[in-house]
Symmetry: D2
Subunit: 457 residues, 4 copies
């Protein structure tokens, strides 16, 4: 419940025997947790129909509908560039070879080089998103090669960073995942339907069967006859560990692993690394619940839902002044007095970024007469920024980047504080360390060398 990093976007794509608008709408809705700032849908009916605006899916599309058997969609939290309806996606591109719509989840790390390259080839930009950079590259390579898919493949050679794309090109839907597989992208099907989505929960809502992940480096071309796979140049995979720890919905399956199972295992591993004698395992809702279940399960300490969450936070809610942030926490969370009074608790949270909220929460718990408070965090200390699409930009915001664990324990006023170990994290995820991106924990990032850009423009 600590101030959480915010994810940036989800993408969706679908081809069906029926109109796809509602399916895109429901699919985006299932992934609304990945972006509440803007939403957009494009479908194809001989031409590309498109609508995108600021707001939740339900607000943006309350009066809009278009037909079409294939289409893509996008929700965005925020992104590089000005926060305005102009940057809502999908982006619609017109150029000498025709037109396409494109939606992007991720963050490109070599944008300044690419922008420089493209600008020196003569490109001009009308948005400030890296999506426009990707689109310009694809369009240029399409022009060069006269083959759209080859154009995408060539464009991928320039791109560094995280990108899951859905592209609507004529009737086709094309899904692209970066060579590192940083962000999730899955493929599913139904009787007459093929779909791709950032998370499998968007397939579940449409009663589609999850078939497999879109592979790192893969360009998956979908039309009414089925799928065709083209592989770009490979890199060593580097799946983002934070998708498992916090971002993705627990009911999603990413890289063939159940997020829920991983979170429960995180709780179990955390227990074994930091067993303590206590009366109750208390999760910080909602995101700490699954790890707390796992923690309790292997111990003899019962699980208790001793912090109640208010579910009605509205957009226009008037928050308390700076000098009463404790009230800000109480407005969201309220302890069950009878559960915690005089009892030692294990407080489980999934991460601890700045530490302010946890500090205030513990103050409230102490006022309530709790016994000892043992804080357990199901993610190792976050110390470095994420360049791949998660809203943690500077080390200044990480309490763990300058403080020791004991200093943090002191700041938040816990009786004990244990973070899960890197080994415990990796073991729970069940993917070898070399195939994970652990950059925000270790400072070691998977994308090292940069392709030397030739200026040819």
């Amino acid at each position: 419940m600590d101030t959480k990093p915010k994810d940036k976007c989800a993408v969706f794509g679908i081809i069906s025997g029926d109109d796809v608008f509602n399916s895109i709408y429901y699919g985006l809705y299932a992934m609304q947790h990945r972006g509440q700032e803007s939403a957009g849908i494009a479908t194809y009916t001989g031409r590309i129909n498109i609508h995108r605006d600021m707001g939740l899916v339900s607000d943006v599309f309350k009066n809009t509908y278009f037909s079409g058997n294939s289409g893509i969609g996008h929700v965005r939290y925020s992104t590089t560039g000005e926060s305005s309806s102009r940057n809502a996606q999908p982006l619609l591109i017109n150029y000498s070879m025709g037109s396409f719509a494109i939606a992007h989840n991720g963050n490109i790390t070599n944008t300044s080089e690419l922008k420089y390259l493209l600008e020196h080839r003569g490109s001009i930009f009308t948005t400030t998103t890296d999506t426009e950079i990707i689109a310009q590259l694809i369009a240029q390579e399409h022009i060069k090669t006269n083959d759209f898919v080859l154009g995408i493949k060539n464009a991928m050679e320039y791109l560094e960073g995280a990108y899951c794309l859905t592209i609507l090109y004529g009737r086709k839907v094309i899904a692209v995942r970066d060579p590192w597989g940083l962000r999730p992208l899955v493929f599913g099907k139904g009787e007459t339907t093929y779909a791709v989505a950032s998370e499998s929960c968007a397939l579940d809502v449409l009663d589609l069967k999850l078939v497999r992940d879109v592979k790192p480096s893969e360009i998956l071309v979908i039309d009414e006859n089925g799928i065709k796979s083209v592989m770009g140049k490979k890199q060593k995979p580097a799946h983002c560990m934070f998708e498992y720890v916090y971002f993705s919905r627990a009911d999603s399956i990413i890289n063939e692993r159940s997020v829920y199972e991983i979170r429960r295992k995180l709780g179990r591993n955390l227990l074994h690394e930091s067993e303590v004698d206590a009366d109750l395992v208390v999760p910080v809702p909602d995101s700490g619940i699954t790890a707390a279940v796992g923690y309790s399960e292997d111990s003899n300490i019962p699980f208790g839902e001793a912090l109640m969450k208010n579910r009605y936070i509205g957009r226009t809610f008037i928050m308390p002044e700076q000098d009463d942030r404790e009230l800000g926490v109480r407005l969201k969370l309220n302890p069950i007095l009878s559960e915690i009074k005089g009892r030692e608790i294990v407080l489980i949270d999934d991460s601890l970024v700045r530490g302010n909220t946890t500090r205030r929460l513990i103050k409230i718990l102490r006022k309530s007469g709790v016994g000892k408070i043992h804080v357990r965090i199901s993610c190792p200390p976050i110390r470095s920024p994420c360049p791949y699409g998660i809203d943690m930009q500077t080390t200044k915001e990480f309490i763990a980047s300058k403080k020791t664990v004991d200093e943090i324990r002191n700041i938040i006023d816990a009786d004990s504080l244990v973070y899960i170990s890197l080994e415990g994290l990796i073991d729970a995820i069940g993917i070898p360390e070399e195939k994970l991106c652990l950059g925000c924990l270790t400072g070691k990032y998977p994308i090292k060398e940069k392709k030397q850009l030739k200026l040819e423009g």
Copy 2:
């Protein structure tokens, strides 16, 4: 998660050394679960300042503020009468003796008699709420007796049904609870603050100490010097059991009992009445969670959060057509496949009103390859309507009013179905049966005889 009865309103009142507007705002916000249709605040600054409109607290008050050291507030789900801003509360009354603002939670059962009585005394009504009836009675009795509090006391002699009132009369805040104590109303204080609220969670958010319940029949008069208690004619208490089972927030304490503890005990009692061999205890979120924790605790079956809830249901969300209500359930709840595949589960819900949602949910679970499904309900079968302010008006809507438990089990397609017994419910609540209102379960209502109304107008 079955289609739930909806509660009707919360009231709030406060006197403080400081401006009270924000405290009312936060207090109402903490009770937003009791009413999302309209909100209103009145304060006193020599005159009564008032604003009320349709919408959530955060929407209604995004551009409004008034000063004042005393005030009342109200949120409403719906009420008798047209659903319009005209019926938003508090209601402001002007009459020969001055003016007051009044907010009401509950439902009066003898409104037609009272309306008849008042109309024959010459009253005319400009709203269709029973709040206006209460207000007219109070005003008339005030005129007769020349004493406002005595006027309230006399008015109470006429009123049958559930009513918790907060009244702003000059600088004073007056809290009134019906003689049966059907709905909750609590009193709390801080250093320079006195407050009353429908639920104690509204006191917690303001860091006020819960002192006690407003007693059944009590008129609690609060001014800056403290409280004065006047008792109206007593009746045998009849506390609503459904406040414990479903309505109130789990972190509230009502009639000196922790809602959370009662719900956990309901789970434990349910276990002992219906033990079954299974692999996982699965709550229907959010309301089934606490009972599921209790059920798991005393058994050797682990608790699992195997149904994930989407938290982003918007007001303007386009729901699927009639013929795909299963999608409607999937949009709200998604099972964790890895948790339930091939496993026997105990599915815990807090009530089962119409049964449609549970039927669809079980269909989805069966498609997911679950093993057996044992449904356990932490409330006995609801068979009769509630005349006291809960939105269950006709027996037609209760599946249990015409079907046996086994027929219901068959309809929802569960492998077994057990409701908690009346005894198990009463034991968990810990209040003697004769002091509870169990009308919706037994058809026996606490308010029997009606005062014969004299027409004098």
Copy 3:
């Protein structure tokens, strides 16, 4: 174009062979100039259907429709009482004899006495409008007499001031005009339709034929079989002169006189009282145009539309700061340089209340290099407040209440200033002086003595 007094409300009523909702909508729309703050419609279909809210007709009813062959409507500028949706009309009344909806244009002058009377009979009020007072009186007299129309007739005995009412009582529409006939109310019919409206332009829009005025003191009861007229106690008529001078639409016919013809005659009379040698007659648009046409017509000075009005003033327009009110005028009006440069003009306006706008306008005209400016006002100096429903409440706001004409000429910096004489005004209107209300000009009001109210409650 000087800061104008604002009128307060229009009423409408209709019975037809078809649904009347759209006709009420269009009728109110035609009278939108009489009130832009709120709008409401009520129709009868066995029960009364009602919707009313803040905003223009087109906003309030963009998503609302109900059937019904009879109904009433209302637009309001503002009124006594808080400016909120709660005070939007029609008002819906329930009492022992049934229910009715009521809409009111005008202002009652003895409200405090009536409120005192009614409160001492035991009434309580839930709005702060005088409409509720009228409604309570009607309901009480209905109860006493057991005859609705007689109840209205008796209630009128208590009422002093201006009131045009439309009442929906069962299927019937009842129109009432105060004994002084202060505000306009007309009756019209079509093939299967009877309608009443504050102004005849609302009949025109529906292609209905204007039959006659509702007479002062008249209660006109309309049902599907036709009309029945009941006369209340008569008073000497006192038609508001300002309806002719400014308020009503020029295309309306009031008290059998064309507003347009009167305004043109005002211009002609003004010419004859104040002839001057000039090059151009320039109206202050829009309200000065007709008088300017009349002024030019009888003179040899051509009419010129030399001030252009911007028609796009929006509700949320950010007006210039206090220190640049001249810009405020330029945003609304812009002179045609080529028309006025070096020329003497006669500037025609229909009234001059505070004088600020005229002063600023003349400053702008002088900067444009105009020659002499002769201001001619087609209404005598306004010196006294209007108690009968026009928003001119205190003498402080009238420049003419403390200044001589020559002082005013000096303040506004005109080369000459002439107001039409009282005689010229009366002659143009063509109604004998004793049948006009000239209170705001003379300080002599038509309603002198007050009925002594008996307290009987």
Copy 4:
């Protein structure tokens, strides 16, 4: 009042010693008649600040303000391309040489060639406006020449059609007018302020002095030190006659000619070409008023404002069904019965495009008992579409393209119908025929030959 062609956009630019935001806001507001669909403002404060959205100026900027001593603005009616917030202007461009904001009024006629050219140079487009085409050309030519102003000059060599541009480049504001001078663009100054605007009324509102037109082919570079003029390749001027007849505000001065004076002269010329014996000259408000004044002036027939206009048309107004379009006209215009009954009238309108509204209006007038109706139109018959930015796209919509004047007279049921002659029009405007664009009247367009585009990309 006939269904009018709609203009497309206004541009504004300003540099001042003070913040310019409010000046741009007021300037755009004064030109709101040229575009109500979207509005945008950009200012410079070391970086370009920009906001643009759908809606009126007052709505788009109700909560927005930025500082900056130079800036540009834009209002749009509609344009080529999708009608969405994405196409709102100014457009913000980033490229290798930096960035600029650009606003455009007009329409480019060789867009497909230019798009083909640019796409084959490798450009991709993210909007569907011709403004993006202009911007891409300027950016490319800037890159080639390394000189921004020279870049604009070179870009102009490619552009055909109508374009008035304001460009914000660093602190500089640059105004550009196409070589034909099709659309208006004026330059004005104050003490510390320089401004350019589509119409001089936007200068008036800010109390700036109109200095001169921006000349056809001129690039006017403005910074805090004053102006610098660069001339592009010249063409024979071709000023749009419809700006004088209908589009521009009557208080504007365009190409050194007063729109008001021209309209009055049109009325006078029309009289002399079509004198008739009648009782009253009646304008169709608002746009027919000035010509009617002129027509009356030279005749002995008085001017009468005998059609009243309702000023409250709202955006969400529910218009009558197809089968009652007569009501649609009555909702906007209402005849003054007393003025027209039994009298012969000359009905003056400024143009007659489709004829439907005029036909319905005459039907209403006939019902009102008017005598003969002589329709006089102050613009010759419109028979051809406008390619230069006015919303008259196909000949199908022009009644005059297939019907003779007598057939039209018959269709609209006038007693006589006379259009002003081409000679009368040209004489009134006072600009030689060869310097006017009369394309929509004659089918002869000023821009004949197209530059052969070299593909070099």
